[in-house]
């Protein structure tokens, strides 16, 4: 739930999603769900070599299980806070 809530707080921000098949897609985070499926709008080119043939796609829905990384704008994330939250969650899971 932590990262679901975390991504929800980033809706509207521009992100780059790198898939497990090495393709990278840049777009605006429109929505995310509990499985971390990602819906992006206004897709654009990031790396031409890794770019899939889907220019001017308005919306795209990415299955959460194929996402390798989500690149985030550094100034939108409080990494210290996120680290603390992750540690707290790990401690909660250990007790359960």
């Amino acid at each position: 739930m932590l990262f679901y809530s975390f991504f929800k707080s980033l809706v509207g921000k521009d992100v780059v999603v790198e898939l497990k098949n090495d393709l990278s897609i840049c777009g605006t985070l429109h929505s995310v769900d509990q499985y971390l499926n990602i819906k992006l709008t206004d897709i654009s080119v990031t790396d031409p070599e890794k770019y899939p043939h889907m220019m001017s796609v308005k919306n795209c829905f990415i299955r959460g299980s194929v996402v390798r990384y989500v690149q985030l704008p550094a100034d939108e994330v409080d990494t210290q806070l996120l680290q603390d939250a992750a540690r707290k969650e790990a401690a909660t899971q250990a007790k359960a």
């Binding site: 932590l2 898939l19 098949n21 897609i25 796609v57 919306n59 829905f61 194929v66």
Partner: protein
């Protein structure tokens, strides 16, 4: 791993059925037929031949409505699969240069239906979560995680009793000194 199988009759509820839909696999046209977006499986059956295929949702990496004519001359439902169906043989060095993916495009006669196809596919994707994901372990016992992040901020500036235990966590109902080390 079977990413694209031969046509299987869709069972269960069909979220969307669209006839007069052309199918393209990696730019190769298979003809016109009927697309079934069912809760169990996505299937396409040609109306002119015995051709057909089915796709399983866990292997659909990404889908979108594509309207870029510079790459493909029709508005279509664009689907990316997580393996290359045309290159199933492990060819060693060749694999590193080939994309490990398949692009399937569906071109309905009714272009206005594309958004509904997108939504139907998205809804069916939600019914097939990755079995490796362990969502239930992340339960914060109902506590909103963003509120939990706020709690951490509060804990940083609150004073504790010197043992590292602060008493701002109401859910715990801990008595003062309950968790102190034994004397």
């Amino acid at each position: 791993m079977v990413v694209m199988s031969s046509y299987r009759e869709p069972s269960g509820e069909i979220r969307h059925q669209e006839s007069n839909t052309r199918a393209f696999v990696n730019e190769r046209e298979l003809g016109s037929g009927t697309l079934y977006i069912a809760e169990s499986i996505l299937s396409w059956k040609s109306s002119t031949s015995e051709d057909g295929f089915s796709l399983e949702y866990p292997h659909i990496s990404l889908h979108a409505v594509s309207k870029d004519f510079s790459n493909f001359p029709h508005e279509c439902l664009y689907i990316m699969l997580d393996a290359d169906v045309d290159n199933t043989a492990e060819a060693g060095d060749d694999d590193e240069e080939e994309d490990n993916l398949t692009i399937v495009r569906f071109v309905p006669a009714d272009k206005g239906i594309l958004q509904q196809l997108f939504e139907a596919l998205k809804d069916c994707q939600l019914l097939h979560p990755d079995p490796n994901d362990s969502i239930s372990e992340d339960d914060f016992e109902g506590e909103d995680t963003l509120a939990a992040l706020n709690n951490i901020t509060i804990q940083r500036i609150s004073t504790d009793n010197g043992n590292g235990h602060d008493h701002s966590d109401d859910a715990m109902d801990a008595e003062p000194g309950q968790f102190d080390d034994a004397e």
